[in-house]
């Protein structure tokens, strides 16, 4: 059976091969970010790290490349961080009360409200991209944080997840709160939200990664260099992708774009895995 007898090495060998496949592109990016452009262009590139790691990262962070017109990657990371946090927190903040309303109240149009939120699952921003741009333009939201974040903030996923969790809160708890004279607002703030801690943490990880990695909408709705996110900005550094490109800086930037979502995922791994898989069960 598991892990004993002959053939016990097969799982480990397969997993190590899988790890090599998954990690190789990242490792090559790491090595490239420690070399000079000449080292990279002298194909084949070495697989041993070179001496320029810190210099390359510093240059990328502070001054960027020609393609970014002197804009450092540090600024782009700050923009990405603001966008990811606003999207993650925004989604959680508007979904908690709406899920609470559809679960703990009976009121006219409750079903309609629930379905209105639910069908947004079927309208990802990618399919309504041009008309959404038009709406943002009419509301004078182009190149603003509100315009960047609002169209991505309403989504059914967070509301559905919280709704599912709220349905498992024991009736006795709500009854006891009512007997103690707690109104719906106090119950929400002092009981429901603290009980939802784990779900909030799990959702935060997923939404932070979602927000940080957004591409199409930020590309369309921002145009000033001061709003560029790192995932968009790296494209300006590559240009036509030929030998003129400052590849060590591009690869340093790629690693900087990977780092924050990976750190968030690893530090909150326990909640993240549960949060990702539970709602599908």
């Amino acid at each position: 059976m598991a892990g004993s007898g002959r053939g016990a090495w097969i799982p480990h060998a397969t997993l190590l091969a899988g790890l090599a496949l998954v990690l190789f592109p990242i490792y090559v990016a790491f090595v490239a970010s420690s070399l000079s452009l000449g080292d990279i262009l002298a194909a084949p590139m070495t697989l041993a790290p070179g001496p320029h790691l810190f210099a390359n990262f510093r240059e990328a962070l502070v001054s960027g490349t020609l393609g970014t017109s002197g804009q450092g990657v540090a600024r782009m990371m700050a923009n990405s961080l603001v966008m990811a946090m606003l999207i993650a927190i925004g989604k959680i903040v508007i979904s908690l009360p709406s899920a609470y309303a559809v679960v703990f109240f009976r009121f006219p149009l409750r079903r309609l409200c629930f379905w209105a939120i639910f069908v947004t699952l079927m309208l990802p921003v990618e399919v309504r991209i041009i008309p959404t741009y038009k709406v943002a333009a009419d509301l004078k939201l182009i190149d603003t944080h509100a315009g960047l974040v609002l169209p991505l903030v309403a989504s059914a996923t967070a509301t559905l997840l919280f709704r599912q969790f709220f349905l498992t809160i024991p009736d006795e708890l709500a009854e006891a709160a009512k007997l103690d004279g707690a109104g719906p607002w106090r119950f929400f703030i002092w009981i429901v939200i603290p009980l939802s801690r784990t779900n909030i943490a799990a959702l935060f990880v997923i939404l932070f990664i979602y927000g940080w990695n957004q591409y199409l909408w930020p590309l369309l709705v921002t145009d000033s260099p001061g709003m560029t996110t790192i995932v968009i900005g790296i494209r300006q550094m590559i240009g036509t992708g030929d030998a003129q490109t400052a590849w060590p800086l591009v690869m340093a930037t790629a690693l900087l774009a990977i780092l924050p979502p990976v750190v968030v995922m690893l530090t909150m791994q326990r909640w993240f895995v549960a949060g990702l898989i539970e709602p599908e069960k």
Partner: protein, 294 residues
Amino acid sequence: MERRVIFSGRLFPILLLTPQLIVTIVFFFWPAAQALRQSVERQDAFGLSTEFVGAANFAGIFADPAYLASVEVSFVFSVAVAVLALMPSLLLAVMADRVVRGANLYKTLLVLPYAIAPAIAGVLWLFLFNPSFGIVGSLLRRVGIDWNYLLDARQALLLVILAAAWKQIGYNFLFFLAGLQAIPKSLIEAAALDGASASRRFWRIVFPLLAPTSFFLLVVNIVYAFFDTFGVIQNVTQGGPGQATQILVYKVWYDGVAGLDLGGSAAQSVILMAIVIALTAIQFRFVERRVHYG
């Protein structure tokens, strides 16, 4: 499922729902309605007047060889991405389910690509496969393969498929592993006692029990390949060479933003909406079934 104990009040719940409803109406329903309206209108070149043209935009799209080519590219791309992202993940999950030592480390590292943006995955793979200096690209040329994805349509498609599939491995791995761990070990042990070989145990017991997870992941991966891979395409090939890697979402963007063909782009959006609605419906039908049976 409904709750027994509820609070009374009508205004308060509406207030709680207001922020989400406003955002939903302004940024979801309104643009979707606009897309529907624009899809049956045509604007003149200066945007001064619009006229109702009925299904003409749709007819135009389906008569356009470039659009039909894009449909074909999207189909090949999404099926290839789904298959390539699912098979290694299943194999790795089966293996990870068997090991005890190092299980957590394998899991942590294999999940990493989940956190990486598709656009950045594209950059990593384009660097590996650059024909002149990429580690893999230059190796391919040295062994006699004429590797140049900038000129060769098939190679370009292959490269964006690889980059897009690689990014999904972590997600699929997690779900397969959770699915495997939910299978009662006693079932497998009983089969082993009856003398079923390891491969027989896998194909006769594990694989059928994993079918719901696999089907769910298949839909999720196709949705991902259709709608979340714009960044991969934009960074690796910009839809080229020619239109060899122009998937439907890329074409909506390209025709609407670069081509300024609003009616055509809106009609394309409407078709995409129909695709998402169909995929979501399939997914929910199936999720419901799973709730009933398992």
